[in-house]
C-alpha cells in the first residue's frame, strides 16, 4: 500500500485551477522525484497535500484512506513530514524551539534533538539563537532536521537545493540517500538534475498542472531529464 497517493486530483486556489487530474504514488522506502519547470504546479502538489489548495475532484490517499478536504496537520500526523519551499522557519522561535515544533506529532522513532544535533552539529552549537540568523544552507538543515523530528515514513522536500552552494547540495544528496537506506521514503520535488539523479529511482514530470510522463530514472540520460525542465 502506498504511503501517499494522488488519485486524479484537480486542485484550485480560489477560482484558479492549477492541478488537473494529477495521479502519482509513493511506496514505503521509495525515492521518487517530481520535476517540472517553474510555475507548473509542483508546490501546489504540496499545498494540496496539506490542505492549503482545495481539492475539486479526485482525492489524496494517505495510508489507504481517501481525503478530499485534508486539514493542514493531517499529512504530518499521518507520518508525512514536509520541508516547505522557502523552509518555513519560524522567526520568533529559537533553533531548538523550531526543532521541537517538528516533534509535536509525537511519533516514536530514532530522531530526537540529540540525533538531529549529531547530524547537524552547527544547529546544536547555536540551539538558543533565533532560526533566522542562519545562512541559507543552515536554514535548510534546520528545516530538514525539524522534519526528521517527526520520525516520518515519508519526507517530502520542495526544491531543497534552491539557493544552496553545490557542495552543500552534494551533502544533501548523500543525506537523502542515507535516509532512504534507513527506510524513510523520499519525495523530492526538484529542478536540479544532479540532485534528482543522485537521489531518486523513479520520477514524474509535471507540466501545466498535469503529470505528462513517469518512469524509472535508470534508463534516462541527463539530457533527456534536462529537456523536461528547460524549454
Amino acid at each position: 500500500m502506498p504511503l501517499l497517493a494522488f488519485d486524479h486530483v484537480d486542485a484550485t486556489y480560489g477560482q484558479a485551477r492549477i492541478l488537473h487530474g494529477v495521479t502519482f504514488h509513493v511506496d514505503p522506502g521509495e525515492r521518487v522525484a517530481v520535476l517540472g519547470r517553474n510555475g507548473v504546479g509542483k508546490t501546489t502538489i504540496v499545498n494540496t497535500l496539506c490542505g492549503v489548495a482545495d481539492i475539486q475532484a479526485g482525492a489524496i490517499v494517505l495510508g489507504g484512506e481517501r481525503h478530499t478536504s485534508p486539514r493542514h496537520y493531517l499529512a504530518a500526523r499521518s507520518g508525512i513530514a514536509i520541508v516547505l519551499q522557502g523552509r518555513g522557519i519560524l522567526p520568533n522561535l529559537t533553533i531548538e524551539e523550531n526543532l521541537l515544533l517538528g516533534a509535536s506529532v509525537d511519533r516514536p522513532g530514532r530522531w530526537d534533538l540529540g540525533a538531529v544535533y549529531d547530524l547537524f552539529p552547527i544547529l546544536g552549537e547555536r540551539r538558543q539563537s533565533p532560526g533566522l540568523g542562519l545562512s541559507g544552507g543552515q536554514q535548510q538543515m534546520l528545516a530538514i532536521g525539524r522534519a526528521l523530528m517527526a520520525n516520518p515514513n515519508l519526507l517530502v522536500l520542495d526544491e531543497p537545493s534552491e539557493g544552496l552552494a553545490p557542495v552543500i547540495i552534494d551533502e544533501l544528496a548523500d543525506l537523502f540517500r542515507r535516509l532512504a537506506d534507513e527506510g524513510t521514503a523520499i519525495m523530492l520535488i526538484e529542478q536540479n538534475i544532479g540532485l534528482i539523479q543522485r537521489v531518486a529511482s523513479r520520477y514524474y514530470v509535471l507540466s501545466k498542472g498535469t503529470v505528462v510522463e513517469s518512469g524509472d530514472l535508470a534508463g534516462m540520460t541527463t539530457q533527456q531529464l534536462q529537456d523536461h525542465i528547460t524549454i
Binding site: 493542514h72 499529512a75 514536509i82 518555513g88 519560524l90 520568533n92 517538528g102 517527526a150
Partner: protein, 282 residues
C-alpha cells in the same frame, strides 16, 4: 504622583487582560475579534449576578469558567466553520455577535447602570507615600501581574505555549508541521475569552455596568494591540502599561484631549515603527 502612577497601572492591567485575549485570538485565527468588548461586558454581568446571590469570589470564578466555555463554543461554532472564508467575513460576524450580546444584556439586565461593590476584604484604603489608595486597585494590579506572569511562563516553558507562539506568527506553517491547530484554537479562544470575563468582573467595582460598557475599553485594547505589535504578547504588556499611564495622566492634565491621546500615540507609533513595539508580522 505615585498614587497616580498606580492608578495608571491598574487601568493598564485591565487593558492588558483584554488585549492579551485579542492577541491570542488574532494569532491563531488571524481575525480581529470585535465581540471581545461585549464578552468583557457579559463576563461583568455574569459575575454581578453570581455575586448578588453568593459573593464576589464566586462571581469571579464563575464568570471565568462560564466565559471560557463560551469562548470554546465561539471557536467551535463560529470561528472554525468560517475559517475558509475571507477574514473580513469573520470580522463582520464578530461585530454581529457584539450587537447580539448587547441586545441580550439589555433584555436580561436592562439598560440602566448597575454597580457592583468590591468584597469587604478588598474595600477601604491603605496609606501609600502618605496618601490613601484603594485596596481594590492594588488587587486589580495584583491580578493583572499574576496573569501576565502566569501567561508568560506558560508561553515560554510549556509545549502548548510553544505551539501558541509559533502559530501567533505563522498558523499555517505551524499546522503543516503537525500541530493540531483546531484543538489549539479551542484552548486559545477559550483562554482569551475567559480572561475577558475575568477582567469584566475585576473591572466591575471600578466602573458602572451597562450593555455598552465594553466599547470604549475595547477600542483602547485595540490600540494596545497595534502599539504593542500585532501578535506580540510582551509588546501588549508594555503597551498596556504605557496607555494606562497616558489614559490616567491625560485625564488629569489634558482632560479635553484625554480620549484622543491613545489614538495619537497609535498614529505616532505607526509612523515611527509600522509594526509596533515588537511587531514582526506585516
Amino acid at each position: 504622583m505615585l498614587i497616580q502612577v498606580l492608578n495608571g497601572i491598574a487601568y493598564g492591567g485591565l487593558l492588558y487582560l483584554l488585549a492579551v485575549g485579542l492577541v491570542l485570538i488574532f494569532g491563531l485565527r488571524e481575525i480581529v475579534n470585535f465581540a471581545h468588548g461585549a464578552l468583557f461586558m457579559l463576563g461583568s454581568y455574569i459575575g454581578f449576578s453570581i455575586a448578588a446571590v453568593f459573593n464576589f469570589w464566586l462571581g469571579l470564578a464563575g464568570s471565568l469558567v462560564a466565559m471560557t466555555v463560551i469562548g470554546i463554543f465561539l471557536d467551535a461554532a463560529v470561528l472554525r466553520p468560517l475559517r475558509k472564508h475571507d477574514h473580513m467575513v469573520t470580522v463582520l460576524v464578530t461585530f454581529g455577535i457584539l450587537l447580539v450580546l448587547e441586545a441580550f444584556a439589555t433584555a436580561v439586565w436592562g439598560k440602566s447602570f448597575r454597580s457592583m461593590s468590591a468584597p469587604d476584604l478588598l474595600s477601604g484604603t491603605v496609606q501609600i507615600a502618605g496618601e490613601p489608595f484603594p485596596v481594590y486597585r492594588l488587587f486589580v494590579i495584583g491580578v493583572s501581574l499574576c496573569v501576565a506572569a502566569g501567561l508568560t511562563a506558560w508561553l515560554r516553558f510549556s509545549r502548548v505555549g510553544l505551539y501558541v507562539r509559533a502559530s501567533s506568527v505563522d498558523p499555517t506553517t505551524t499546522a503543516i508541521l503537525g500541530v493540531d491547530t483546531d484543538r489549539l484554537s479551542l484552548i486559545v479562544v477559550g483562554l482569551g475569552t475567559g480572561l475577558a470575563g475575568l477582567s469584566g468582573v475585576v473591572a466591575a467595582p471600578l466602573m458602572a455596568l451597562s450593555p455598552t460598557m465594553g466599547n470604549y475599553i475595547l477600542i483602547e485594547s485595540f490600540i494596545v494591540v497595534v502599539v504593542g505589535g500585532l501578535g506580540s504578547f510582551s509588546g501588549a504588556l508594555a503597551a498596556a502599561l504605557l496607555i494606562g499611564q497616558i489614559h490616567n495622566f491625560g485625564a488629569i492634565y489634558l482632560p479635553w484631549a484625554s480620549t484622543m491621546l491613545p489614538f495619537l500615540l497609535m498614529v505616532g507609533v505607526l509612523i515611527w515603527r509600522p509594526t509596533g513595539f515588537a511587531g514582526k508580522r506585516t
